[in-house]
């Protein structure tokens, strides 16, 4: 099979598999967060947590719970790394230095999974399992919880109660993430992904030399790394490493895992608001943008640009032979369209336009289809902005799903939407201004160098975690500024979205009239897609013009 055919076959199987599970899994997700009944194991957990699952929270208490939980998570993850030298299974690896531990702790708790360390070199099995794997689950469950609260805001009327964070967190973990991860991890092992507690094995190569091949409990982390749209690999090469992603089947499974929850959440949304067409509209916007991005990246990578690629004959630098171009761009588009950030090829070595696609995918605000939970609340925020713009055009107070979008709602949505661009542009600008930082960090100069810095802050601000990895980010400046970018990019939108949910839930439902713009329609879909593109274009075109666009035209 040719590279193109293999990629197309993989894309076709992927879409068919997603279509197959969309309805049952989406409806299951809706049931998980609306069911009145607790599972037995959950009741046991609530007793251990000493929380009352019956007591529902206001939006502000819900926000405090999330912030408190994230704070203790960051502290514990920081301590685990700092104390690595005395923890079991470190295989001689010492404590992670403070800047890197700070950055990594924030990175995994914010669902970013940006990695300034080299997995197999820095982290022992205990920190990987008890620290990083745990946050792979919990940060994803937090995202799910926030999305569900926003949907409840639309569904509920005249109440200040939006659910219980500990219940939502537990259900997302126990009923969704953990069971799927167990199955996926074992399937991945069957296809060749390693799950070993040994540090590695010394091999006598046939040529007489010897090498050490590192091993790790990779499959258990790989499954939730994709399913939770996390992206932090056990190995430095991430999903390009044959022990994490050994063949086309695992590649397919991993892309499926990282897309399945964000995609199915649109169905869960439609089910919960009692109008499934609302969910289909959101899904079609996400799918159209994902498809367009995939097509551009695929075209760009099959048309070499840049002297080294032309000399080599194809854009294969940083790509694996078993994936070729098709399966690499399919992965790249999906990992940056969700907030996963795992990579099966090195985006830094993509062509100008080909590397611009993953970057733009993040700058759209991670809604194609976005991270676990984060994708749904991201696109709902943009839907509110789109309705607001439409309302301005006709001079009418906008509504969405029977709720009026007044000053407070639009303000919350605007804050949620603007946090990321602010963080990305200020971070990139500041990094370029700090004397000496960029010059010593870049591995490529010119427009590509600018792209590396912009990509880093876009990845951090959007909680994606993929990288133009040529940028050396171990200096104190990058560790701390990217850490702060991840925090702000995660928690400002979360708080704004919870506030939005609170004010929506307090309203009564307004009846639909002839003047109501139907939001389960192609017209609204086009308006929403236009808003997504327009917001990103207005914000980022100057920066993109100096980086990837300049390179693509060179």
């Amino acid at each position: 099979m040719s590279d193109l055919a293999a990629g197309l076959v993989q894309a076709a199987i992927l879409l068919a598999a997603l279509a197959l599970v969309y309805r049952p899994f989406g409806d299951y997700l809706a049931r998980v967060f609306t069911s009145e009944r607790d599972w037995k194991i959950e009741r046991g957990l609530y007793r251990l947590f000493r929380v009352n699952p019956e007591s529902e929270q206001r939006w502000s208490t819900y926000a405090v719970s999330i912030l408190a939980f994230s704070f203790v998570s960051i502290v514990l993850l920081y301590l685990l790394q700092r104390l690595q030298s005395v923890l079991p299974w470190n295989f001689g690896r010492g404590a992670i230095e403070p800047g890197m531990a700070f950055n990594t702790a924030i990175s995994f708790v914010t669902n970013t999974n940006w990695q300034s360390y080299s997995g197999e070199v820095a982290m022992g099995h205990f920190v990987q399992m008890a620290g990083l794997t745990v946050q792979n689950f919990l940060s994803a469950a937090v995202g799910l919880a926030v999305a569900v609260v926003l949907v409840r805001g639309f569904v509920r009327r005249r109440t200040d109660r939006l659910g219980n964070f500990w219940v939502d967190l537990t259900r997302g973990t126990i009923r969704v993430l953990l069971p799927i991860s167990v199955v996926a991890a074992l399937v991945l092992v069957a296809f060749g992904v390693v799950q070993s507690l040994r540090s590695g094995v010394t091999v006598a190569n046939p040529d007489g030399t010897s090498s050490t091949i590192p091993l790790a409990p990779a499959a258990s982390q790989e499954a939730i790394k994709q399913l939770g749209t996390n992206g932090g690999g056990i190995f430095n090469a991430n999903s390009a490493h044959p022990f994490e992603n050994p063949n086309s089947w695992t590649n397919l499974i991993e892309i499926f895992l990282l897309l399945v929850i964000p995609v199915s959440m649109t169905r869960a949304f439609g089910t919960m608001v009692g109008n499934r067409k609302q969910g289909y509209t959101l899904l079609s916007v996400m799918a159209a943008l994902w498809g367009a991005m995939l097509a551009v990246a695929w075209w760009a990578e099959t048309h070499p640009n840049g002297p080294a690629a032309l000399l080599a004959g194809a854009s294969l630098e940083g790509k694996e032979q078993r994936f070729g171009i098709g399966q690499s761009v399919l992965f790249a588009t999906s990992t940056t369209g969700t907030s996963t950030g795992a990579v099966n090829s090195m985006h830094d070595s993509y062509s100008g336009l080909g590397g611009g696609v993953p970057l733009l995918n993040m700058l759209l605000g991670e809604v194609t289809p976005g991270g676990v939970g984060a994708g749904l609340y991201g696109i709902l925020v943009l839907a509110i902005i789109a309705m607001f713009l439409a309302g301005l055009m006709v001079g009418r107070t906008p509504e969405y799903l029977g709720k009026k979008l007044g000053r407070r709602e639009v303000t919350c949505a605007a804050i949620a939407m603007l946090a990321m661009p602010t963080v990305v542009l200020l971070g990139t600008g500041a990094a370029l201004l700090v004397p000496g930082e960029v010059a010593s960090a870049l591995s490529n100069t010119g427009p590509h160098g600018l792209s590396e810095v912009l990509y880093a802050y876009a990845s951090a601000g959007n909680n994606n975690g993929s990288a133009f990895a040529g940028l050396t980010v171990t200096s104190d400046w990058f560790q701390s500024s990217l850490g702060i970018a991840m925090l702000l990019g995660r928690f400002i939108p979360i708080i704004a979205v919870l506030c939005l949910a609170g004010s929506l839930a307090a309203q009564r439902k307004v009846p639909e009239t002839a003047g109501t713009l139907p939001t389960a329609s192609p017209l609204f879909g086009a308006l929403l897609a236009g808003t997504v593109v327009l917001v990103a274009a207005l914000t980022f075109i100057p920066a993109l013009a100096l980086g990837p666009i300049a390179e693509a035209l060179a």
């Binding site: 000493r50 919990l138 537990t170 092992v189 046939p206 030399t209 050490t212």
Partner: protein, 203 residues
């Protein structure tokens, strides 16, 4: 507010610790324990290949063979370049995976591609223009186990000659170790192929 924060932090800590045991210990160790069953353990431990009770590599990890003599006498099939190698076609270190992250506009990358093309053409005794793209570009992992069938064909002559084998014999072995997993790009596993060539040459 502060009281609420303190109360929530207490709950947060309990939740985190319980979940750390469940998700950070029980889950990965459970998957590990289950993967001890026959049929999974081989993969879980790295798909290692043994010859005469010695581990000679993993069928998933490509480590470029080295040869000290003149390149035209080299008996090995070679992997793709690795970003962790010290020289353009040197042996990478599987202990540190990763790609070069060089852009196609980077002068360093242009030089590297040109050097690799020249060295391979000399080694195989062919025109530089016939060297395929995967042979002159570093993989994403630095331990890519596979090469393209085109790069394998390019090396067949030299490998056959230096192992005292017939061209047809080696071509048959290349075909045997070419796989596309049914839905993938056809690729040739270098370690398995080298081991088979050596076994055939030894008779």
């Amino acid at each position: 507010m502060l009281k609420s924060l303190a109360k929530q932090s207490g709950a947060a800590l309990r939740v985190l610790l319980v979940f750390t045991v469940l998700l950070g210990v029980a889950y990965p160790l459970g998957v590990w324990a289950f993967s001890r069953v026959p049929g999974l353990e081989h993969q879980a431990e790295g798909s290692l290949i043994e010859r005469h009770d010695t581990v000679v590599g993993s069928s998933l990890i490509g480590i470029n063979p080295t040869f000290d003599g003149p390149p035209t006498r080299d008996p090995w099939f070679h992997t793709r370049p690795s970003a962790s190698a010290d020289t353009p076609l040197g042996q990478g270190d599987p202990a540190t995976s990763g790609g070069s992250n060089l852009s196609a506009f980077n002068p360093e990358q242009v030089t590297l591609v040109r050097e690799r093309r020249q060295l391979i053409a000399e080694r195989e005794g062919v025109a530089p223009s016939t060297v395929p793209a995967d042979a002159v570009t570093a993989s994403g992992s630095g331990v890519d186990p596979d090469i393209s069938p085109a790069y394998a064909r390019l090396q067949t002559d030299r490998v056959a000659r230096n192992n005292g084998l017939g061209d047809a014999q080696v071509r048959a072995l290349v075909a045997k170790y070419t796989s596309g997993d049914g839905i993938g790009v056809p690729s040739v596993n270098v370690l398995e192929l080298n081991l088979a060539v050596r076994a055939t040459a030894a008779g």
